[in-house]
Assembly symmetry: C2
Homo-oligomer: 415 residues x 2
């Protein structure tokens, strides 16, 4: 008998209730074979509010997993900003737009002064794709270093640097993989990757890492990070901090994950929580890199930085500040990190703020827990090379009562 799975298995469609079965069958027919549904039994939500999601019959679920609705599902300020702008005008960056410039300045004020330019895209995939284009153009190199189970997105270029998608065999020949921090010596591993690229005649262009190493199972501690980045710079390459998941306050230590490690990235990519669900993303960069890129390429993203996208992003940034969500991420995250190790079956709890990885015995335990929690109306996911890490990554408005409900659920399902 196969173990539990993170996704619905279409072979089990007959076990679903008739209405769900009908919808699932229709979905498979039109969306085809590359889509996945969460959980052994898929679920449909029709409404959200804060950390809660509701099915059509009114059943409430606690969302301890979704990082995109970062300031809370259907936040009224974000929804109102989107509604107001959509009713007034949506246009693009080839017309002047004061709100675009205001937001760009406001966002850049959250970054170290050397990161003085921002370019807008719609998705984190596009942001990482653009960052890599800029890095390759600016360095003249092509070599890219990533971690063992990295995920950076789904464009052709970015899928080719994302071993979590298809394994190391699917990577481009100019990619080198290093073990996740903690599984090796990060500095030595990065140095070895640089040497390996150079001895293959490939000039290094960039080291790119998710600064919380989410798909590598959440790694808040990185020994030798600054030295690894210095080695990359010495080789003429750039450091790209992928903040698509950790960015905008989730780690509870400030806005960005790279700052936890006192790093100065050359390029930073932003995405998922930036518009609380609206498709908006960005690359933040040293101006000289953008200038070098702009000399040889023109870049226009029809929807990137469009009026409604900027309205959504501005409202989201305002709420992160006004509701003190960085502080909340730290407070509730610290509470969880304090309580989790006491639960039977948890081998290790690691993380920062509201990005926490909980290591359990093996993949079966992790996937079993995810599905059992879902039956208890708590949403969680898993991660890591060995799929043995539960990923706690809720909206940042997660409060103490939510945390207690999650702890109670974990205690029950891991018992």
């Amino acid at each position: 008998m196969p173990g539990p799975t993170a996704y619905f298995d279409p072979a089990t469609v007959d076990s679903l209730d008739p209405a769900t079965r009908d919808l699932v069958e229709r979905r498979i027919r039109v969306l085809g074979g590359a889509y996945r549904l969460f959980y052994e039994e898929p679920v449909q939500f029709v409404r959200g509010n804060g950390t809660k999601l509701y099915t059509a019959d009114g059943t409430e679920y606690l969302d301890a997993y979704n990082n995109v609705p970062s300031v809370g599902h259907a936040h009224p300020r974000v929804a109102a900003a989107i509604a107001e702008q959509a009713a007034r005008l949506t246009t693009h960056t080839r017309y002047l737009d004061r709100a675009l410039v205001d937001y760009a300045e406001d966002l850049l004020a959250e970054f170290p002064a050397h990161l003085g330019n921002v370019m807008f895209t719609c998705t984190g995939s596009e942001a990482n794709d653009l960052a890599l284009r800029i890095a390759k153009a600016a360095t003249g190199g092509t070599g890219v270093i990533v971690t063992e189970n990295a995920y950076h997105g789904v464009t052709t270029e970015i899928a080719a640097i994302s071993p979590s998608l298809g394994g190391i065999s699917a990577l481009a020949p100019w990619v080198r993989v290093v073990p996740a921090p903690g599984d090796g010596d990060f500095e030595l591993d990065v140095r070895a990757a640089i040497d390996d690229l150079e001895s293959s005649g490939i000039r290094p262009a960039a080291l790119i890492v998710d600064t919380i190493f989410a798909s590598d199972g959440v790694r808040p501690t990185v020994v030798g990070f600054a030295q690894a980045v210095a080695a990359v710079r010495s080789a003429g390459a750039l450091f790209i901090a992928d903040e698509v998941q950790p960015g905008f306050g989730r780690l509870g230590t400030g806005m960005w994950g790279f700052a936890r490690h006192n790093l100065e990235p050359d390029l930073v990519t932003l995405g998922k929580p930036m518009g609380n669900g609206h498709p908006v993303a960005a690359v933040v960069a040293r101006p000289e890199l953008i200038a070098a890129f702009g000399e040889h390429a023109r870049y226009f993203n029809t929807f990137g930085g469009s009026s409604v996208s900027i309205a959504a992003a501005q409202a989201t940034l305002d709420v992160v500040r006004d509701e003190h969500l960085v502080d909340n991420a730290r407070t509730i995250g610290d509470y969880l990190l304090d309580q989790l190790p006491a639960i039977d079956g948890i081998l290790e709890a690691r993380g920062s703020g509201l990005f926490i990885g909980v290591r359990v015995e093996n993949e079966d335990v992790a996937l079993g827990a995810v599905n059992a929690l879902k039956r208890r109306h708590i949403l969680l996911g898993e991660s890591g090379r060995d799929n043995d890490v539960l990923k706690i990554r809720p909206p940042l408005v997660f409060d103490r009562a939510d945390a207690d409900r999650l702890l109670e659920g974990l205690t029950e399902v891991l018992a």
Copy 2:
């Protein structure tokens, strides 16, 4: 003295009025050197309605250029659908969503039966990137054939097949370029490109064309199109119809440009007008291609097919049908195509529906006309390898009075 330009030249910033100058300078400081502003004197709009855009002082502009707000700027039904859904829930395709399945079925009903699957992305660039990934996975080939001044998007992969971005020298080695239809013999040129790929040891994967050849200067007539596609298929490659610009009724002959030529594409890409400005795009495909792709790759696009995106796309599709915009595109397009050739200075008017290219004497005339029309509060653009084609591509609600105002403006500026 340099001729007129399509874009603002930062060297002329001192000639702007103080308020505009201040905003432009702030913009350049934060967005950096890869962004462009339309027109010799940039313009800021604060409100839109139908085919009209308004500046802060209430000046009305006629929009004869923007194809994204296809059902009209700030259409109330689309804005209401976005507002309602954003206030209720935004989530992604790993949860069940009846509205997603309903829309997918509704959209696919507009396609020939063999195109039975749809996958959602956020931008046309992502759609073309995904279509190419699917084509390469399904054929085992890598070779791609495009037209001489093609533009398909800005991801690394798609910029590498877009000669209009950086010229033929910036293309990937597995790309072959054919003259735009009318500049050569399309069938023979495509056959020669296939031969050239094969003799270089490159297996062909796809011919991809914008079915109205917009960046090639708008080419409604394509002799030998079906034969070219047949030759591509015989070589084991696929035909990708890029409908990002012509799709959703603009050509006035039905929903899709490929149907004008009685073609059966293997993959179709959609984008710009799909959500009337909301970032939503898609790949429509033969199910067996998606199945082949899904065997080796998982694909998840966080915002692709998200709840608000689907609400925007459904409302837009509903409006295209309910307001009979395909018919309007044909009626007004036919009127323009009938009237335009009588205007002094117009060498040729060609197009279909509300996608019309107007060839004038040279680039200086075209760019001068674009800027002169803008001063008369009419928005238009230019296109083509030689930049000598004015591009008429308004919202599909463009009416007879709008057409007359445009014809009058063109008559004045070309005199």
